[in-house]
Amino acid sequence: MMADDLIDLFKTKISLLQNQALSGGIVAKNLHISDNGSGELTLYGDFTITLKVLDLTTGGAPNLNSLMTFTQQVITSKLRGGGYKSGVIYFEYNSSTKSFNFRKNHTYSIRYNFSCNARVVQINMLSQLKGNDFVLAVVDSIGYQFTDQYGKKHNSGGLAQRDGGPAVVSYNEWRKNKYIGVHEFFHTLGLGDIEDVSKKGRLMYHLGDNTSYNISDNERGDMMNFLMRNISDMTKGTYSYTNLNYNTLNLLSRFLKDTTNGFKYNKAKFR
């Protein structure tokens, strides 16, 4: 027991050290574009996506490590396989100068050939949240209820603000459904909820009776588009999306305090 605790402590320390080299939730290296000359651009890059987990539960979360490992594996595997968008109107790319001409438009098909590696790491102090880091806070329970398109009321196992915003999961619900953490994080990566009962096999279906947890090619394409939100940044080679004005800690603080969300958590841990 003691040894296990120590190993866990070391693991956390090591991931924290690794994490210090990264800034922001998205770090991309080896970015380059290949132009097939007939309207198709293929975007290449190695992405590291870091999601910081903050345990705000009152009684502690003994299964947190295994839930985090699961979440990390699922995020990585769901982002595998790239994405494709046709009819994308953008600026003309010049492959010899490796730059975009901002005075001329061009319609492209864009193939995302990104290799994505997710890292789900636990943080123990709020000061470990910087800039627009991605965060998943674990709470005791969530009181927020929503009405689906059929008029039925549901409880929420998780709640997130899309497109870079904070995500929150209820520890008990997460234990019951291991995919909730990924579902909420994919809101952070820009995906919306599905309520169409013919799509129960999809990860973003959120009415509780899922038959499977698939991501469509379109959704993957949308997430790739989120990861590389400004395609012209592709020409920089490396890229770290740091938006200092978009402060995750402030957003999370406001999100947690918003009484309409009904979060129950250990407030002493959020100071």
């Binding site: 009819g87 005075r103 890229y239």
Partner: protein, 134 residues
């Protein structure tokens, strides 16, 4: 920090270029007819998002607080009022390039039904509201 500095200087260079993510071709299209919407026009966020995604709006209107080539970011669009959005975004601003005769036939913006336009506007407006997602 470095990338921020690059972004800033890139931003100021681009500021002098006034050409947005639009082509020089100017084709006038008729103003959208304001039919009364059928009762069946319901708002589904997922479908509305699909319209935005298919039109590739995000490539030029970068999602939050960051302008590409001085084009309004998506969250800036969300602050415009609905009627202005219909006229400005869907009709005038793109100079008809998204029309059937326009330069970008693949993204026929003016072939969207009134219901689809209404829902796309609804989606854009919601973007500024930060509605929590279960």
């Amino acid at each position: 920090m470095v990338s921020n500095t690059i972004k800033l200087s890139l931003g100021s260079i681009l500021f002098f270029l006034f050409v947005a993510c639009i082509n020089e071709n100017k084709i006038n299209i008729k103003a959208q007819k304001k039919n009364s919407l059928p009762d069946s026009c319901r708002y589904y966020a997922y479908d509305a998002r699909q319209i935005i995604s298919n039109l590739s709006c995000y490539n030029c209107h970068i999602r939050r607080g960051e302008r590409l080539n001085n084009i309004l970011s998506f969250d800036e669009l969300a602050t415009m009022d609905s009627s202005k959005l219909v006229n400005f975004v869907f009709i005038k601003r793109h100079n008809g390039n998204y029309s059937m005769k326009g330069a970008f036939k693949t993204n026929r913006m003016d072939t969207l039904s009134d219901c689809e336009i209404k829902n796309a506007i609804h989606y854009i407006k919601d973007y500024g509201r930060d509605i929590p997602m279960p």
